[in-house]
Symmetry: C2
Subunit: 205 residues, 2 copies
């Protein structure tokens, strides 16, 4: 059977199986043997393509992160204005690819184990820095630097918070709701910051 160039195929197979097993049994009970069986290969394969269990989990999470990144890049390339780019980032975070039960489980498991693993922590750090700098890049064109920083943190928090609620409880049912809520926040906070610039006034009737 052994053809050349199986490495990338097997790696993807094992990563896919790892995601499935993490979803079904959780990080704690996701064992090397179970992941291998799910992938349809022997348990020895895991250590042939990955140093150990930790490296497999690291590769799995990095794969999910790169999926999210690729989706965001795609949406950003179609956006013209800074406003559209911010919305593109929001939509990517709430995209269909992220609203998948297996993806939920994997990211939640990552949250639960990041404090104990520096490699997993690095993945989260990359995600946070990417999201923040992407938002900041476009927000700076719309409001002052200080307001842009606050807005970026606020939007990122809103995204993570709504995503978290959805991942944990499955509510609200409609994936459009968190998207709209984040966009509304963006609009409200942007107006507030924009008004502070003195370009418009709010007048009580």
């Amino acid at each position: 059977m052994p053809k050349l160039g199986m490495a990338p195929i097997r790696r993807k197979q094992l990563i896919g199986a790892a995601i499935a097993v993490i979803h079904e049994d959780g990080f704690n009970h996701a064992t090397v043997a179970r992941i291998a069986r799910r992938a349809g290969v022997s348990s020895g394969m895991v250590h042939h393509y990955f140093k150990d269990k930790d490296e497999l989990l690291f590769a799995t999470m990095r794969h999910l992160l790169s999926d999210l990144h690729a989706d965001a890049v795609l949406r950003l390339s179609a956006a013209q204005s800074p406003e559209a780019r911010v919305r593109a980032i929001i939509d990517a975070c709430f995209g269909d690819a992220q609203f998948d039960a297996q993806v939920f489980s994997a990211w939640l498991a990552l949250y639960g184990s990041a404090r104990q693993s520096s490699s997993l922590q690095r993945i989260l750090s990359i995600y946070h820095r990417r999201l923040r700098s992407s938002l900041l890049h476009d927000l700076k064109k719309m409001v002052s630097a200080a307001d842009a920083a606050r807005l970026a943190d606020g939007i990122a928090a809103m995204i993570d918070g709504l995503w978290l609620r959805y991942a944990l409880t499955g509510q609200p049912e409609d994936p459009e709701t968190p998207r709209a809520l984040t966009r509304d926040y963006f609009a409200a906070a942007h107006d507030q910051a924009f008004n502070r610039r003195g370009k418009s006034l709010r007048v009580a009737s």
Copy 2:
């Protein structure tokens, strides 16, 4: 040694030790033997006071949840206006008791394991329902029912999102920053909803 009424003392000891071990080793590596040793008792004690490991972890998380609830109730009793009550809830979620490294680890571990345990899921469900209904109760006095629902979800998401970022990365350094950000969101979203009621107008200069 055995005096009467050791049960509540030992339970608290074991819960405290469980929190410490979860912080140091994570949920995965937090074993019954390690928790017992940390509490200064034999491993058999755990099964004398808790049915099994899962029940100990459940009791541990319930204890943390009741701490948060007690803090919120205390702050709410000192608040007079609906606005002050909303701020009291925000402050409780970002209170000193919640900004503790051990508490971070425990809640993150809970997030990571909730999908695989119905009892842990119940704890999260209680937290979510309590936070939402508390916010809703006061927001309804300030804006329309539909706006109150949106605002409650938004504030809850902002709290969770900022808390999550802080728990995972330890940033921003100052615990006051997330509090201010949430209050700002509350103000901005409230203004927006209030304006929709037709009581004021926004006019471009």
